[in-house]
Assembly symmetry: C2
Homo-oligomer: 419 residues x 2
């Protein structure tokens, strides 16, 4: 059972968590702007009045941003993150740093000329925007490598990165079942072997051998039964300590849980796609409105008229509304993409942890297998020791004594006949 | 192959080999008699003129023995013994002593009132005659305990002591064959086990496990094949080092040799029986002649006559002849019994040696069995060591790296959409 720890990361407050570093550029910043360094050493700029944050050094003559065309930054202050934390490998400090990275790299804007959408998900163009640092450097973490969708091996349908991760876990369940099957086959082989040895140990062959040699032979035959017991014990332990655990590790609920993750993430993608459609629709509507405004403005330049001026005012108003609509749609889109992003990170971390657990659990149980093998050979070796002992004690003279006492016909020797 | 050493024991010469001891009886011996002690401390008496030897102290008034009625002693001086000596346990000194015992106890006479014939072999009555010392004391030797015939377990036919010894050797041959059969059955069991393990090692189960865990799993499967090889090697060695030798030890010639012994001894017994019959016949003839003499002597007492006197002379001559015949028959009988005695001793010693060899040979080869068992378990144990090593090296982080490198879909993270 994975421990779920919920950690709320409050919006990142640059004033409190990062110290300003030396500016390489000596030009003064425009009024209202300050500059800071993230824990990873990245310089960023914050506008204290608009709360705008950006990687790009604002130019001195930057005007107050015009809302419809300004780069809209989702304020990091407004975001919260919930993390699924596992008990291992996450230190509080590292956790914070991770979250800073998420917040900063996720929510800082990139110029729209440098964005591309792939299946409704928005990415920076390669080489554009601030270089993205890995969320978990040096770890080859799932949360760093499965963002884009790809064609599946057949090349026909699309597979999300998340589905790749999920499939791996499901595959793991199948592999553990196959391992259990293998162990089961070994068990059957051992039981057959034990049965054969046991049967042979009861053989009456050479049972008439007597004396110390007969004892040694009897013990030799018996030792086969002892060996059989050792192998039977081995197969029983294989069953309880290796096969059964491999079969029952992560029961039916596991698949259900994975399915839940699957559906949840898929729903978020559907929602994202739908909001992307809204953005496109609003974008088109704005373009129409702007074109309409342009046309009407041209009309005014040709022929001044009160009607035209009024039309222009109306058109400008509609254009502004369309701009507002677009902003709202983009905002909703970004919120959904944010939500999906967070779910992706936490769930892929969960899957990563499950995989680590799976590997370690299997390793442990296969080590149990080798331990049982070792034990078996040692026990088996000790089964011939009594035979060794008796063979060492084989004594032809003693055997002759025993046999002669039992079988002698008469000890009085003949003498000469006498008259 | 038994080493045959021929040792000729010259007739025992009391003068040279035994010192006279103190006489408990102070009465003087009759003329011509001397007294000696055997190496075992038995006192015996020798008549230097007649070469008569006896355990009984001759009475002072003993007359010169009358040949027909005298106790006829086979002179030890005339006997020679051939011994089948084996290389072990016979020291020259002990050998001599043994032979002395044979000579003395065998050939010294016992009064005919104290003899009994069992199946034509002549024994002293229990409690009569000098106490017989074992030929090989403290050894439970075959040559001491198989002199009389007995009824076989069914109680119908008669079995000679020698036949009991021979049967034991033949039985030994059968037992070794049964042991070989047992080993053969073990070999079959091992081959079956090896075959099953080998087959399972090729199983594709969980073959899709990758990374360090996959390597460990692959080696685990392979180790089953290695185990199979160990067991196959075991079964091969069992065949060449235990089964085959057990089958071929003492080939067909062995039975032929035993048969030869059997026939030889049986022939001597037949000869003895026939000579015994002759003795009985001669005894009866003598009795008839003596009765005839008696009758004729009585006739003379009734009525003296020349004819009767002549008849008596004739009858007396015939009686003497019959006495001589009887003596000759007894002599021949005793010679045959001697010969049979010697053959019995040497052949039973041979059989005894064969049995010692048989036991030791089987002991050696069964110890080879246990050695192979030990080796097998040790080799088998070492087959899981590479698996242990790889399991120890299982590293979920490394496996994740390998898998992610191979399967990642894209590492660029999404950013906010921007207009």
């Amino acid at each position: 059972k994975v421990e779920r720890a919920f950690i709320i990361i409050y919006p990142f407050t640059p004033e409190s968590s990062a110290a300003p570093t030396e500016e390489t550029d000596s030009r003064p910043l425009p009024p209202g702007w300050s500059s800071y360094i993230t824990p990873e050493g990245l310089r960023y700029y914050v506008n204290s009045s608009s709360k705008e944050t950006t990687w790009r050094r604002p130019s001195s003559s930057a005007e107050a941003p015009q809302r419809p065309l300004a780069r809209q930054n989702s304020s990091p202050y407004d975001k919260t993150l919930t993390l699924l934390a596992s008990t291992f490998s996450f230190l509080p400090a590292a956790l914070q740093q991770l979250c800073f990275s998420w917040v900063i790299t996720r929510h800082l804007s990139v110029s729209s000329r440098f964005l591309l959408q792939i299946n409704c998900v928005t990415f920076p163009l390669p080489g554009e925007g601030p270089e993205q640092q890995l969320l978990k450097p040096d770890e080859w973490s799932y949360c760093d490598y499965f963002w884009t969708d790809r064609k599946d091996p057949q090349g026909t349908t699309l597979v999300t990165g998340f589905e790749v991760l999920l499939q791996k876990q499901l595959k793991g369940k199948q592999l553990q079942k196959e391992m259990a099957e293998f162990i089961h086959e070994r068990i059957k082989i051992e039981e057959e072997y034990a049965k054969n040895l046991s049967k042979l140990s009861l053989s009456p062959l050479a049972a008439q051998e007597e004396g110390t040699l007969g004892e040694a032979w009897t013990q030799l035959k018996k030792s086969l039964h002892d060996e059989a017991e050792v192998h039977l014990k081995f197969s029983n332990k294989l069953h309880t300590e290796v096969e059964k655990p491999l079969l029952t590790f992560r029961g039916d609920n596991f698949k259900k849980d994975l399915k839940k993750y699957d559906h949840h993430i898929a729903d978020l993608r559907k929602q994202l796609a739908s909001r992307y459609a809204s953005v496109e629709k609003a974008r088109k509507a704005l373009a129409d409105r702007q074109k309409d405004l342009e046309v009407k403005t041209q009309q005014l330049e040709i022929k001044l008229s009160n009607k035209t001026e009024e039309d222009i005012k109306k058109a400008r108003r509609k254009s502004t509304q369309a701009g507002d609509d677009l902003m709202r749609c983009v905002d909703l889109y970004n919120q959904t993409q944010s939500k999906w992003f967070e779910e992706m990170v936490t769930t892929s971390m969960e899957l990563e942890k499950l995989e680590v657990e799976r590997i370690e659990w299997i390793q442990q149980h296969l080590r149990q297998y080798t331990t049982l093998r070792h034990e078996t050979d040692m026990f088996n070796q000790s089964m011939v020791e009594p035979v060794d002992q008796l063979l060492q004690n084989v004594d032809p003279a003693k055997d002759r004594e025993l046999w002669v006492k039992e079988n002698k016909t008469g000890d009085v020797r003949p003498v000469d006949m006498d008259i």
